[in-house]
């Protein structure tokens, strides 16, 4: 059943991707229009779509900084410690 569901979605990959983008846009719209900001801790959080931008930027920064760090020489061949 799970396999069938996954195959069903994979067969319609472009549609799934488009629906995901629509979902993301609706989420931000819902946040901007309906969500009360009274629980916000800082002023920055009142900027529309703050957490969406935070999540996206965090992800990009983590990947780029980590890979940059790894390619400084931290990532090395698998038999590095072998004699």
């Amino acid at each position: 059943m799970i396999v069938k569901l996954i195959d069903f979605l994979r067969d319609r990959l472009q549609l799934v991707i488009r629906l995901s983008y629509v979902g993301l846009a609706l989420l931000v719209a819902w946040d901007v229009v309906f969500v009360s900001k009274e629980h916000a801790h800082t002023a920055a959080e009142r900027i529309p779509g703050f957490w969406a931008a935070f999540g996206f930027i965090a992800c990009v920064v983590i990947i780029i900084v980590s890979k940059w760090y790894g390619h400084l020489g931290i990532m090395t061949r698998e038999d590095y410690y072998d004699n």
């Binding site: 993301l24 890979k67 090395t76």
Partner: protein
């Protein structure tokens, strides 16, 4: 001796472990389920019975084995529950000693959780290290031995720091061994030494490298136990003694980010999960450092949730390793058709650790971040939120994607072997997955167990702002992941971590021993040969000659003389009395003459 009837759950596991190898085969499986269940029921029976039990007089000290209170109960509950789940997951393992090691390890953890003085704590602390190392050694690969020894050496070093700290504390306080709030307001050397002992077990950088090293190498079932007990027992110890220690906040935040960075680079599934333990324990350490009642609740809740979802993730990735023999992303991929159940369970673990709404991480992690915002520690709260984006990026997306989807890197052999694991492994995962969802959906289950239940009851994670915030962070992280997926393609590499220092340091020591020290040793030997040995030999040769010719000559000469005299005397002694009288009289006559004329 024992103040009241109170059965230590560790005792059930220790006795159970001792009996296990002697049981007939048909009895083993039921027995493996009964013993940890008894320990769990024992803990359940203590609920509401707060107090001090199991006080034993030893020499000058009253050792306390059983302190039952809110903090110890929540940890004891989850530890014994995880013991049941882990044992069910490992039910197919026929090597009894793996179960024995695992149970003794859990017993060590329970001993630490219930003890109320440092002597008992130290005893069980070391039991944990010495029992768990066998879970690495039982993998029985050539490298397992080396990894196990490194693990043991690092933990022994941590244990020594702890021991030194408690001895100094014993001396400074005039004999106080009680294990409680240590006085974080006026820390001394002993405070820091004890803290280092705890921080090493909590895998706080720079004392963390043992964790991915050992957990990546442990047996499939061993890793499920290891990921739960050592670090979370250390979190308990920190929460008990170091609540409000400010330095723990930056340390915890660094941990949370450090684990995330290394998880990006990691190619081995279980090592990636191990780096995320460091990241998640960072939240708990930071929570302990913040030290408010909400933060301590958060640290305990997160430890509780973490044990379940991290156990589930290790079970999921462990089942891939168990079935295919592979644990590297660069040798896996596209397995959803072959292992769909393992995928679903791992995904539940991934969503829980990522703090998706309705999953356990959502109701526990948020408490710590909220406590950070509450004390206006904004940078800590924002950085922890950043790390949670990284958590979803790896454990929620990278792990499932590159094992079950993505490019199929499987060899034909791996592909043929891949299938969902045996029923017991699926049952273990099923129980953990159920609990992850239960905690996320029904908050009172966990919140009522926390050390400050009133504070917990006043905390509501499910408000629209928090939901919107979390969903935006997570879903836009997912967007970033799919846009940058090419950058994350697995690379068959390893990442150098701080264990480099002691691994290469050890090698350096070996080189030092082989080269300069051996060379110096050779020089000394050669020098000794020329300066010491040769004159000695010459002297010895002289004395040998002297002995042969001079001493032996004298001795031989004496002997010859004695023999000659003896022969003469023998000839003179014919045995006839008259001759004897003749010689005697002659002797007396000569003597007389000499006397008179001399």
């Amino acid at each position: 001796m024992i103040t009241d009837f109170w059965l230590h759950p560790a005792l059930i596991l220790i006795v159970g472990a001792c009996i296990l190898p002697f049981l007939p085969k048909w009895l083993k499986r039921p027995y493996l389920i009964i013993v940890p269940t008894l320990a769990f029921l024992d803990v359940l029976s203590m609920q509401g019975q707060h107090g001090t039990f199991g006080v034993v007089r030893f020499l000058d000290w009253d050792l306390t084995f059983g302190r039952v209170d809110g903090l110890s109960m929540v940890f004891a509950y989850i530890m014994t529950l995880m013991c049941i789940i882990g044992t069910i997951y490992g039910l197919h393992v026929e090597d009894d000693f793996q179960h024995v090691a695992a149970w003794l390890y859990v017993a060590g953890s329970l001993g630490v959780i219930f003890c109320a003085d440092y002597l008992v704590l130290f005893l069980f602390w070391e039991l944990m290290a010495f029992a768990s190392v066998f879970l690495v050694w039982f993998r029985r690969r050539p490298e397992s031995l080396a990894v196990g020894y490194r693990y043991l050496l690092v933990h022994t070093a941590g244990g020594l720091a702890l021991l030194a700290g408690l001895i100094l504390r014993y001396q400074a306080t005039g004999g106080d061994l009680s294990f409680g709030p240590i006085g974080v307001g006026s820390p001394s050397l002993s405070t820091y030494l004890i803290m280092i002992g705890f921080l090493l077990n909590a895998a706080v950088p720079p004392f963390h490298a043992w964790l991915p090293d050992a957990y990546g190498e442990a047996t499939v079932t061993g890793a499920v136990f290891m990921c739960a007990f050592t670090t979370k027992t250390a979190v308990y110890a920190l929460a008990r003694a170091f609540a409000g220690m400010e330095i723990l906040v930056p340390l915890g935040v660094c941990m949370a980010l450090y684990g995330v960075v290394y998880a990006v680079l990691e190619n081995d599934t279980r090592r990636l999960l191990a780096y995320h333990i460091i990241s998640q324990v960072g939240y708990m350490v930071a929570g302990v450092g913040i030290g408010t009642e909400l933060a301590i609740n958060g640290a305990c809740a997160h430890a509780f949730a973490h044990i379940l979802y991290k156990g589930l993730l290790f079970m999921g990735c462990g089942s891939v390793l168990h079935m295919t023999g592979k644990s590297k992303f660069s040798e896996l991929g596209g397995l959803y058709k072959k292992m769909p159940m393992a995928f679903v369970f791992t995904m539940i673990g991934g969503l829980s650790i990522s703090a998706f709404p309705l999953f356990s991480g959502f109701v526990s992690k948020a408490m710590i971040v909220a406590a950070g915002f509450e004390v206006h520690n904004y940078w800590a709260a924002f950085l922890l939120t950043l790390a949670s984006a990284g958590t979803f990026l790896h454990t929620g997306l990278k792990v499932p994607y590159f094992i079950w989807f993505g490019k199929n890197n499987c060899s034909k052999e791996t592909w043929d072997k891949a299938a969902d694991p045996p029923w017991n492994m699926q049952l273990g995962m099923g129980i953990a997955a159920f609990l992850c969802i239960l905690i996320g959906c029904y908050t009172p289950y966990l919140y009522n167990m926390l050390p400050y239940p009133q504070i917990a009851a006043g905390y509501h994670p499910y408000n629209t702002y928090h939901l919107s915030e979390t969903l935006q962070i997570l879903l836009f992280t997912a967007l970033g992941f799919f846009l940058l997926i090419k950058k994350l393609a697995p690379e068959p590499k390893i990442s150098i971590d701080l264990d480099w220092f002691y691994r290469m340091g050890g090698r350096g020591f070996l080189w030092l021993a082989k080269r300069p020290i051996q060379w110096a040793d050779n020089c000394v030997s050669e020098g000794y040969r020329y300066i010491g040995l040769m004159p000695l030999m010459t002297t010895a040769k002289f004395w040998s000659w002297f002995d042969w010719h001079a001493i032996d000559g004298v001795v031989d000469g004496l002997a010859k003389t004695v023999r000659g005299i003896g022969a003469l005397v023998r000839r003179m002694q014919s045995g006839q009395l008259q001759y004897n009288i003749f010689y005697a009289v002659s002797f007396v006559a000569v003597a007389l003459v000499l006397y008179v004329f001399a």
